[in-house]
Amino acid sequence: MNYEISKVAIDIQAVIDKVVQREAGAITTFIGTVRELTEGKKTLFLIYEAYESMAVKKLQQIGDEIKERWNGAEVAITHRVGRLDITDVAVVIAVSTPHRADAYEANRYAIERIKEIVPIWKKEHWEDGQKWIGNQLETVSYPSGKPEGDDLNE
């Protein structure tokens, strides 16, 4: 399966291997890691939680969107859940395409979409407290009461 939620450390090479193809000249990966400082505040660790069955479907949807927009693309995404320490890998996105410009653009598209529509949440733990993070795009949350039009069930 190219779209997974993992309870254990992600094997990056295994994600890359899923998108290798004879037609591809380029593979890009995005590896999201747990950063120690965010706006000057020190993170101790994170907990990621997912609505797992739906999250896998939404990752698949993102892959399908990419294949429709970028010809010849192959996509694999694994997102970690559970407790993650600083520098641990939270998500790995691998995209292969015939030409390199597409591999960068399609990969960037994937991470932005994950932050919009995939039901995964992180709880930050600092020295002085903990909090479920609302949304990382730092926009008002679903101002219309739902994700943008094309977020629905595509």
Binding site: G32, Y48, E49, A50, Y51, S53, M54, A55, K57, H79, A90, V91, I111, I114, K115, E116, I117, V118, P119, I120, W121, K122, K123, W132, I133, G134, N135, Q136, S141, Y142, G145, K146, P147, D151, L152, N153
Partner: protein
């Protein structure tokens, strides 16, 4: 009956991961109002709903057996 799922801070507020309710015939908006009142959940208006693992608008009607999840703004990645 319908299974209702809570995640992240909504689960903390509800004090449980899921509850069983009779929700068929209600719209998503009606269920939100009912759950907010009966489970003391405050931020349900900023949450999306999913019916059977697909996002569903406020006006969608819930059917017998549907699984409803309340999805707070996501923060994966």
């Amino acid at each position: 009956m319908n299974k209702i799922l809570f995640f992240a801070h909504l689960r903390d507020e509800a004090g449980e991961e899921s509850v069983m309710l009779e929700a068929s015939g209600k719209t998503v908006a009606e269920l939100k109002a009912f759950v907010a009142e009966n489970y003391g959940i405050h931020k349900l208006d900023t949450a999306m709903a999913a019916i059977n693992e697909e996002f569903a608008p406020n006006e969608e009607m819930i059917k017998e057996g549907d699984v409803i999840a309340f999805i707070p703004p996501v923060s994966g990645g």
